[in-house]
Amino acid sequence: MKITIIDSYDSFTYNILSLIKQVDSSIEIQIIQHDEILKFQSQIKQSNGIIIAPGQGDPKEYINQHKELKYIYEQIPVFGICLGFQIIGLLYNSETQKLVNPRHGEQVELNIITKDQLFARINELLRVGLYHSHYVNKIGKSLQVLAKDKDGIIMAIKHSQFPIYGIQFHAESFLTLRGLDILQNFLIICYEHLAKNE
């Protein structure tokens, strides 16, 4: 299986890589920087799962090149983390805005609203790590909210038709308990998708 990580010159990318390797060391991983996704479209298209990784700044500044890849995202399982989650939101008519009080390095409790395969085998109250200054304040019709935090900020979403997922928190942070399980759940979604299409 081959997973593409769309990176934004971030400093948490290798923590994601390490989670994938812990789930299955045979997975082939390619890292593509966000400003090169148009150039490497065909390589992205050939992968079995796409992770849109965290990154700095405003998601609106990234959205144009991702719009061009929307047709690929609707064919392969996608998992957006933080910035990636916000990008998915924007791709499907959600709105993002700046937080009044950005949360960098904080741990909050996750309130799972909708049971989903992404949170399979996780039954307890989950603590998760945050690094964000923007958030999804209004969600598009084709997306479904899976989880929120205690302040009501959207923490996880899923597309109602395609296997497209997003989480606002950082599964790869040591502040997120069971981050490995969440990533494993996404990779199982990728395996199942691959099996179905073979």
Binding site: S11, S18, D58, P102, H104, E106, H132
Partner: protein, 319 residues
Amino acid sequence: MNTWQRMNEYGKKKESFLFLIDYEKEKPLVWKLNQVPNYIKFQLPSYNSDVPQNEILPVPRLTALNFCKEKAKIDIHRAQEFLKNGESYLLNLTYKIQLNNYDLNLRQLFNQSKSDYKFLWDDKFLSYSPECFIRVNNDIITTYPMKGTAKVQSGEKKSNLHKDSKEIAEHNTVVDLLRNDLNIISNNVLVKKYRFEKRIKTLNGDLIQTSSEISGQLDKDWSSKIGTIIKSITPAGSISGAPKRKTLQIIKSLENQQRGYYTGIFGLYHNDQLDTGILIRFIEKTNSDFFYRTGVGITINSDSIQETEELINKIYVPI
């Protein structure tokens, strides 16, 4: 061969060597251990270059000549604008402060100061640092990022750092950053110890430093890649910030001057072990003036008055 390649080469041959890397990675230097010039003196927990000990001369009390607290506050607010926009989560901002001390002898201070990591370039700079960058022992690489410095009264066992939520958030960020950096070069990365405290004695009272311990498993042939490893994980996360690439650009625009060897690292490969220290707590000599280099980690919740205090608290000689 450049310095990085020579580090790989010496390590491959298991030859002991000392290296010195500047923050900008423009002037990296390496010497075989038996060829270290005599204007260089260094000390690590595992190694002491022949230094006369027990200096009986009084230790000077360092004081800043003209540190403008107001300017620092403005800079901190400017840095926080970048943090609010999510362009950085943690940014280490540093200052070069002229000292009101004119008769310092760096070689003498090297001998007098008590610190785990000391490095002297005679007549140029001195660092007596409490911070280990990485250590490699039996293929295990360990890093000890230090974030959080506070003054304590001599009777107090613990500082308030312990329960300070913004110190915790700042520390968390650096732990995730260093996990990432170790994940670039090693496997099975683990946070072994989370936020332990260490006390430092100074003429101006005691300081408490908070660190964590993170480790990973290197390949067996790591010594032939020391240069490559060091190059890929510097500048050190605790003196730069996260995300590193963008934060380095912001630091450059805010600081407006080269850091040089300050916040760089020095290290020793010896007996198939590697130990490195971060060059902080740093005195620089220019002509006959002395400058102290000091910095603080800025986060979204940093209080500019408190951070300015921390900048000043770090001007000391450890005794």
